[in-house]
Structure formats: C-alpha cells, structure tokens
Symmetry: D2
Subunit: 356 residues, 4 copies
C-alpha cells in the first residue's frame, strides 16, 4: 500500500535511494523453469545507465546487478528473486545545496510535507535512479515472455516528431543512434537539438512510443484492470511522465465511429488498428502501441528562485550531472514496465477459465 510493490501475481518490490548503499528489488511470482541469461539482464541495465553517450548525463555508475536468490543452475526456481545494485559513485556533496531548499518542480517539498524527513541526497527515493531496479525486473520478465516483442523508441523530442504510424518504422534502427529514434534523419535532428538545449543550460521533454507484437488474445482483466489501464498506470509511474495514450489516443476523440471502428478480417485480425490491440480492456492479438509523454527534466543549469525550509526565497542553480533530455534513457524503462505488465497478465490469463 506504500507504493513500492508492482503487479498482481508477477510482483516486483523495489527499494533504494539515489545515494544510499544500494538499490534493488525482489521479484515474487516468477514461474519456475525459466532459463535466465544474466548477461542479457545486465545489457538492459547498460541501456539505461548514465554516461553511455554524449547526450545523457555524464555521471559514471557501473550499475552492476547482483542476484541473491531464486535462480539456481541458470533457471528460475519459483522462489523470490532478490537482487541489488550497489551505489558506487555518489557525489553526495553535490547535493548540500538542496538539503534545506526545495528544487522547483521536484519532489523535495512534497516529500518533506508528507514524511517530515527526507534523504535529500540526489533526490533520495524520488530520483529516477530508482528505475534501475525496474529495468532488472523487466529484463527477467522479457525472458519469461519470450516470443512477445516489445520495442520502445523515441518518437518526439520537443517539437521534433517522427512522422507516420508505427507500421512504417524500422525497429532495427532504434539502437543505431544515441537518441534511440528509429528514423535516422529525425534522430540526427533530435540529437543536435538536445545538444543545443544542453549548451543553454536547459532541458527539453519528449515522447517515448512503444509497440508490442505477438501478444496472445485474452490479456486484460475487466473491469478495473483493463490491459491498457495497467499499462497506463505502469507508464505514469515512471518519473517525469505526464501522459499516456494507446491506439488512436487523443486523436481518436476527434473521430466518428464509422471511421474509428476496426473491421474484421476473416481470421479475427482487423483491417485497421485504431483499437491499439486492445478491445474492452483485453488484447485482441493485434499489435499494442502507445505513447508516453515526458516533461522536461526539472533540474536546469540556470539560476532559479526557490523556497527553503524556513519559507525564505533563495537562489538555486542546478548542480550535479543531469540529463538534458530524459527520453533516450527512458526507452529501456518503458520497455521494462511494459514487460512487467505483460508478464503479470500472461499469468493472470491462466486463471480465466476452467478448460486448462
């Protein structure tokens, strides 16, 4: 109930502050008998880690995951999978300036009001560093999901947007550029823009899109746990996310029923896919696709007026090492959360009927 447990039956509990001894988590409910490739897990973590390219934060953290339990001779055993990532490169002194002051549009103020105490170093629990645990768990989930393909990518940075719909994109291009955009021309444009923004000491928002293919029919639990409601909640729980839409999304609100209805092919697939692979909250076998909006990172390298905990105005300038644009590193996080949701609902589906 305190919000650090995710999922219904494939459950992830996470812990850890940005500058404490370690972050990590426990996966409870991963079925036995899944072969685990630890290097593949580490590879996902490397996609998220700081310092991997010129357009992300230059912080250097090895972010090496250590597994404690639940995997024996290369296989899951059905028991909980505990893991940790030790924090090794915390420059806590970078954060003395926020010990008593509240960064604008950060969670400092509300944590103080809610808990009466906060680990201010690097934002503590509110730091996006917390998502490293999600990426580890998501990588395990992906190995359970096997044939289901999850591809996230950057579809917009500021006002620069990828054109056309998801069917026109070449996902093999995603990792070919530091922005993680499948359209190489747009990727270059985005990269230049992010560099310019960083030079100005500013930050910019963007959109991560995600396409999930080879999804079995029948995932999603009516009525409150519709598949897209769970995906939406998962995405909105990622730091800096402001919006979620799937299928036709907000554009669908402008359409008429005669335009929007997806007519069937004889095999049960549909001719169009405005539904985004989900009808009535349940997957219909078509590709699931959705967009996730990220706000610009709140820490900017410009002086801002803010409040301290005595209620006085003080000047604050961003210190530490921060991302000018969060979306390139958010790509593996979006995939991880999607994988956790799908793993959970793949298992829930086993409970639906009595022909099993």
């Amino acid at each position: 109930m305190a919000g650090n447990i995710f999922g219904n039956v494939f459950r992830l509990t996470t812990f850890g502050e940005s500058h404490g001894p370690a972050l990590g988590g426990v996966i409870d409910g991963c079925p036995a008998g899944i072969s685990i490739d630890i290097e593949a897990v580490q590879a996902e973590l490397n996609r998220r880690k700081p310092g991997q390219s010129a357009i992300v934060t230059q912080r250097k953290e090895p972010d090496t995951v250590e597994f404690f339990s639940g995997i024996f001779e290369g296989q899951t055993t059905g028991t909980p999978i505990g893991f940790a990532i030790h924090n090794t490169n915390q420059k806590s002194k970078d954060y003395n300036h926020i010990k008593d002051s509240f960064r604008p549009s950060h969670a400092d103020y509300v944590y103080d009001q809610k808990y009466g105490v906060r680990d201010y170093r690097g934002g503590g629990r509110s730091s996006a560093r917390e998502t490293a645990s999600r990426v580890v768990a998501g990588a395990i989930a992906k190995q359970f999901l096997k044939d289901i393909k999850i591809n996230a990518f950057v579809s917009a940075v500021g006002s620069i947007k990828v054109d056309g719909d998801y069917t026109a994109l070449d996902f093999s291009q995603i990792e070919s550029n530091p922005v993680r955009c499948p359209d190489p021309a747009k990727a270059e444009e985005m990269e230049s823009y992010i560099k310019k923004i960083r030079k100005e000491g500013d930050t910019v928002g963007g959109v991560v899109s995600c396409v999930i293919q080879n999804v079995p029919i029948g995932l999603g639990e009516p009525v409150f746990d519709k598949l897209h409601a769970a995906l939406g909640s998962a995405m909105l729980s990622i730091n800096a996310v402001k919006g979620f839409e799937y299928g036709s999304g907000f554009d669908g609100a402008k359409m008429t029923g005669s335009q929007h209805n997806d007519l069937y092919n004889q095999d049960g697939t549909t001719k169009t896919n405005y539904s985004g692979g989900i009808q009535g909250g349940i997957s219909n076998g078509m590709a699931i696709y959705f967009n996730v909006a990220f706000k610009p990172v709140a820490t900017i390298m410009q002086t801002q007026e803010t409040l301290n905990n005595k209620g006085e105005f003080v000047d604050m300038q961003g210190k530490g090492r921060h991302d000018p644009c969060v979306v390139p590193r958010a790509v593996p996080i979006v995939e991880a959360m999607a994988a956790l949701v799908l793993a959970d609902f793949m298992l829930l589906k086993r409970l639906n009927n009595n022909q099993l």
Copy 2:
C-alpha cells in the same frame, strides 16, 4: 486479481451484467462515522442514467440504488456497504443479432476468446452500464471527501474544443446544458454537432476534463502508486477511454525546463501549475487537473461487415438504444472514479508517518 476490485484501502468490488438481474457492489474500508445523504447518491446516479436529455440514449432505466448494509441511522459504521441496482428495462431480444456475431471494435470477440462463454445480452459485463456501480461508490466517496471539490466537464466533442485553461472556466455552468460543457457557446455548438452525427447514424468521440480543488498536500505513494498513476489507471478503466494526461500533459513534452518549472510563492503554492497539482507522484496542494480522451461509441446505426463465430462474414446494423456521444454521461463517471482514488489516498496518507 480478476479485475473487479478497485482501490487499496477504500475498496470497491463491483458485479453485474447489462441484462442480468442486478448490478451493484460492495465498498469495504469506508471509515465509520460519515453521515450519508442517500438522496445525493441517487442524484449522482441520475446524472449518469440514460434518457435524461435529447442527446443521450433514449433507454429508460430508473436506476434506483438499494443499500443492503454498512449504513445505520444515517451514518457509516465501518462495515462493508453493499448495494444493488436492479435491471428493469432490458430489451434482451434487441441483442439476438449479436449472440453469434462479434460487433466491430466491441469486446464480444475477446470475451469469447478469453472465457469461452459470454453473456451477449447488451454486452454483458463489458457494457458501460457497469459504471453505474462506480457512480454509487463515488458518491459515497465524495461524502467522505467533503471539502475536496471535484468538477468534471466536457471539454471537447469531435474537433470542437473549449479554449483556454481550467482557471478561466465557470464550473457552475456545467449542469446548465445537456452536454455538460462549462462554456455555453461551445456547449450549443457541441449539442448541434451531436444531433447531426446521430441523424447520420454515426457516433463521435470527445474529451472529459476534470479539476480537483482543495486537495491536501501529501496524497500519492511513491514509487508505483503515484497519485497521477492511480488517477490514470482509474480513468483508463472507464469504457471507451483512449488516453489520459495531467498538468501540462502531452504539450509538456514539447516544452523546455525553464518554461515548465513551477516556481514557488512564499506560502508553498506555485506561480504556474504545469505540474497539475502533483510533483513526484504526490499532491502539492495546487489544483489537480487532467484530460480523458473517449473514442466514438462503436455501435453505429449503419451497416457494417463483421464476423460471426463460425468465421463467416455477416452484415450487422446497430440495434438497441445507444449514445451518439458518450462524454456527457461520462462526466459523473469521471468524477466518481476521481473520488474513489482520492478517498483511497486520503486514507493511505494516514499511514505515512508516525506523528499521528
């Protein structure tokens, strides 16, 4: 886990199919000692019910709620509140045409695939009629929340949109027109458009916006149960919803940090409110506002080609009595779900620290 229980500690379990004997639910976790105005509950239900104006479905259902437990001498007792709404006006024969066929962009096909059996009458459990139970529970939640004001309204129908931001709107105008739009000129335009669309046997989508005022600081549970993640999930669980954004939303993704950061006033409020009243997943005391996108109703009064359960193409024309545009009746549903989320998080906040 089967998806019919909502909330963490203020919990609603619902049941009921469109054409079964009754719909209803159980609220477990409503604190004792709350005075309940039953007529106010019924009034909310009346805002949702069919047949209330010329632009909604002409089905006539009295939708009278009956309470079974949990309220004694006008007060909640802390025990579960059971209730039911009997179905009285089911024209089940209207639905014989969908017994063996799957309506396009409806849940018929996926229910069949998921469960192997379905109550086809009126869509069964997948019918939006299910939301009546949510409105009852939301009305109870509102009475618990007291000073917190929740105002939902229609902000777009098709491409017709209310201009300006929420601070410019007069919420007292919402119930003055059948569209439930606070801008009377736009309301008229929307109403005409809906009538035109209905005449064409078509339907249209729209957007419901919601503003929540007088929210205490500190609601929301890091990291997975951020307040906006719970609100998003709640909204996305409503039938026909395709997207959710709060605060700056998808527009925020285009902004820079120096534009988007909300600077503090000396009392802890902020000069702007791009954050939408939530920072790091926790309410900051400013107004919470969000948009919910609804697709056009899938049942249209035009002939469409579709599949039957033998895999043959058949012609289908919408029968029964349906809404040409769902958003006017969705307004009380959005409010109800918002109230359920807030009631839940108001209670969770009691657990946060040890100074209580």
Copy 3:
C-alpha cells in the same frame, strides 16, 4: 484491508449485518465454464440455517440466496458472481437491551471502541449470521473443486469426544444425526448433553474436525502462504473459534522425530500421515485433516452482571434465540471456508511453473 475480502485470486467480498436488509457477497475470480447447480448451493445454506433441528436456535429464517450476476445459462462466465440473502425474520426489538450495554465476551464493547458507532441489532456485523455468505461462496467453490472431497464433522462437544483417528470414521453417517457426528453412539451422547445444557440456560463449546481427500500435490505457497496457514486463518476467522491444529497438531509437539516422520511408500504416498497431508506448507497428496476449537456461545439465558456505555454495572439476561452449542451448524461453515481456501490455491498452483 478492512477485512471483508477473502482469498488471493478466488476472492470473496462479503457484506451484511444480522438485522439489516440483506447479507451477501461477490465472488471475483471464479473461472469461466463451471456448471453451477443452484439447488446444491441452497442445500448447503440449509445445512447452516437456524431452526433445522431441536438442538439449534429456533429462529426461522428461510435464508434463500438470490444470484445477481456471473452465471449465464447455468455456467459461470468468469465475471463476478454477486448474491444476496434477504433478512426476513429480524426481531430487532429483542435487542433493545443491548443498545447501550455490552454483552460479556461479545464484540459489542470493542466495536464501540473501534468504530464509535455500531449496529447493535443482533450483533450487527459481528453476528455469526455473516457466515451465511461464506457458505454460499463455499458451495460455488465446491463445484469448482469437483473431485476434491471435503468432510467436516463434530468430533467433540464439551468433554465428549470421538475416539480414534479420521481413517476409522464413516463420513456417510455425518448427516444422519442433528449433531453432525459420524459416530452414532457419541452423537446421541452429545445430543443429550446439549439438551441438558440448554435446559440450564447455558451453552457449551466443541470441536469441528475436517478431512479433505483427493487433493492434488503442490497446493500451498511458501513461505507466508503455506496451505495450513491459509486454512488456519480461514478457520480462525469463523466466529467463536479459539484454536486450529492440523496433522499431529498439539500432540505432535510431544513426539520425537523418529516417531513423527512419515516414511514414503514407493508411489510417493506415506505410510503414516502425521504431516496431515502438508509438508513445508505444500500439499503432498495425502488426506489433509485438521481440528477447529469453538468456545461456548457467549449469550446464555442466565443473568450476568455487565457494563453499559455510561460505565455503570447493569444486569443482563440473554434474550433472542440462540444456539446452545454452535458446532453442529458450524460444520458447513468449516467446509465452506476449506473449499474457498482450496479453490484459491488450486488457481494459484497454475502460476507456479512454466510447463503449462
């Protein structure tokens, strides 16, 4: 969290006070495709109902269950099963004497302290009448469990005890006498004793035992949700229960390992069954058996000194119609709770490994 939801994935939510309009519940998570025999459900309810024999309370309540949803054309549909039992024979005036006074060893005082308000009529929510909802849900669970046989019976009334172990008993005798004891001679002795006790205006405790046969291997979730922990919790949640033991139970604490270990037969069954069909919290395919201790009913037809809500001593004499010994009517309740636990764990087992 408020305690009215039972189970992990086969979930029962109950509502209802002894003298309110109705009791009932919602089963969420019952798989689709189970044929439901409504009369069998009613038959279970009849085993629990008052007035069925000379040694139980003479209250007359028809206790007819009405189903609202989730069953269509005789089969479960995978959607929630809502049901209610209307209260028809409440003699609320019988309870005016406890409006302001607290019956000794009843829950009146603690409800008042906990909630600040209470529906005093017939004990309100704390009445064992609440268990009627459990019996309905348990009867549905039994139909899902099919081949698993659950037999509960009275094994002790006061100091009168059935001798020997469960393997010597003829379960077909259980319903042959009003005590529900499979040993006819002991049954008669118990019946006479209960009549004597009633004549004295007193009540007496007893033990209900339960044997579950044909249980698949592998039910139970380590480490906190061991099968016997879930059974224990289920039984201890029944009104008036003071203890639970399974297999060798408290006697096992006196034994040595060389006596107590169950050695294997070649087919994986065991030569003895001190384990009670459960090892390490997981069913091993042998019969599960356990004992449940019930205290004497607190309402006696003798004058007792007690407190009123002004802190004054008052004399109180039991009124209304009460059971002199609760165990005969507790038999179907114990079975129902066992069925609910087993249904839940049968479903959970589907999640354990990836060979499905």
Copy 4:
C-alpha cells in the same frame, strides 16, 4: 500471491535460500520518523542464530544484517527498507546426499513436484534459515510498536510442560537459560531432555507461548482479518508449526458459557481473560496470549528408508548440523511474527473511523 509477501500495509517481502548468496527482505510501509537502533536489530538476530548454546545446532553463521535503504540519519524515512544477510558458512557438500533423494517429512518431494526444479542445498527456500529475514523485520516492527511488550518463551518440550497460566510467570527469566523457559526448574529439566534426545540422534517437538501486553483496544479487522486469524496465520507460516490456539484455546471447547464468559470490571477490563485479549477478532486491551505447537525437526541422525527421484528406496542418514529441538531458537521468530502482525494492525486501525 506466490507467498513471499506478508502483511497488509506494513509489508515484508522476503527472499533467499539457505545456501544461496544471501537472504533478506524489503519492508514497505514502515512509517517515517521512527528512530531505529540497528544494534537492537542485530541483537534479535543473534537470539535466533545457530551456535549460540549447547542445545542448538553448532553451525556457525555470523548472520550480520546489512541495511540498504529506508533509514537516514538514524530514522525511517517512509521509503522501503531493504536489507540482506549474506550466507557465509554454507557447507553445500553436506547436502549432496539429498540432491536426488527426498528426506522424509521434509519439503523436498513437494517442491520437486510443484516447481519441477529445486535448490536442494540445505533445503533451499524451505529451510528455516529463511526466518532470519523475519527476525530483522520483526525487530524493526518492535521499534515502531514501542510500548507494546511481546514476550515469547518455551512452555513445553516433549511432554515437559510449564504449569499454571501466563500471569504466574516471570518473563525476566526467559533469557536466563538456553531453553528460553521462564520457569528455571522446568528449563533445566527440558535442557537435560534435549541433550539426551540429541545423543540418541533424535529430535523432539515443543510449544512456544507468547504474551502481548499493553495492546490498544481496537486492533483487528472483521470479518476475515480478525486479529487472532492474522496471528494464527503468521505463526502457522513458521517452519514446523502444527497448531495455534489463543486464550482458552482447545480447552475452551470443553467449557460452558457460564464458565467461559469474561465479566467486566468497571474500567472495561475483564475479571478473567479466557478471551485472550481478543473479542470478535478485535483486541480489547487485555493481554493477548497464545500457544504455538512445533513438531520435532524431521532431520534425525538415524538411518531412515526413503525415496529417490527415480522412485527407488534408498537409505538416508541425516547429515549437516541440525537442532535437536527447534523451540529455543523459535522464540525470537514467534516474537518477530507477532510484532509484524501488530505493526500491521496498528496501522490499519488508523483507517477505521473518521474522527482522526
């Protein structure tokens, strides 16, 4: 759902196998602002650890707890508390004999059947070593509970029993002897008996009793989460437990209502306490007391015939270092589980009414 998460709002998730890299857990929901004495946590762990006296296993494990998060400058912050205990003294080769064979009355066989794979070393997840994580979390819970006093102790070893009821015992004597029995004469008798049993290569069961004092009125959630049901489930989840009774327990089943009813004093306390401090599932402010039956440890140093995974009979003799009687080391585990339940219900109580 996979059983490794305990509690409703004060939640413990544990992980770890007997011979893997580490055991540990995450506490989610511990309120902010609690001063934590880490040495007191380690002291509890030392009470549980092997090798502490002549009558327990001579395995030497330092069992040092390492905290990863959730505690900052000596105080809880409201964020999850992650911790681990590294395994340092695993003699895994001691367990090669059980790699392919199933120890009688152990969980080897059922784990194999349930998961299809098992970490056989030291019993893997089914080892009582797992309870170390519970003791850590229980020690944190105790610091939250502060004034509530929880005293567990050994009340029986085999047939040697402490006489009289809990009010006659001197809890300050519990830690004065290696058996942890508050009656020094009985303690000596028990100690000699355990030594004799060990010499015979055998083991013996026993009973741990627990008394909880200074409990506020109002803990416990009707109807399924009665306080004693939660305590019972918690105790039954401990390895080797066969039974749980509270208050009058199984003896209460023999009594009459006129004997058993607890009459009130004028201050709301009761003259007797057969209720065991709980009425209707809710604490009434009197001492809570209960008994927990432990079976004899299944690993004996005698040759037993058993099965291997080819279905052949093989001879097996216990190896490794095991406890001849588990109850002395179970005392801190019983206390820890009691503390976890009480912490959970203390928080749940905050949700009950609206006068807060």
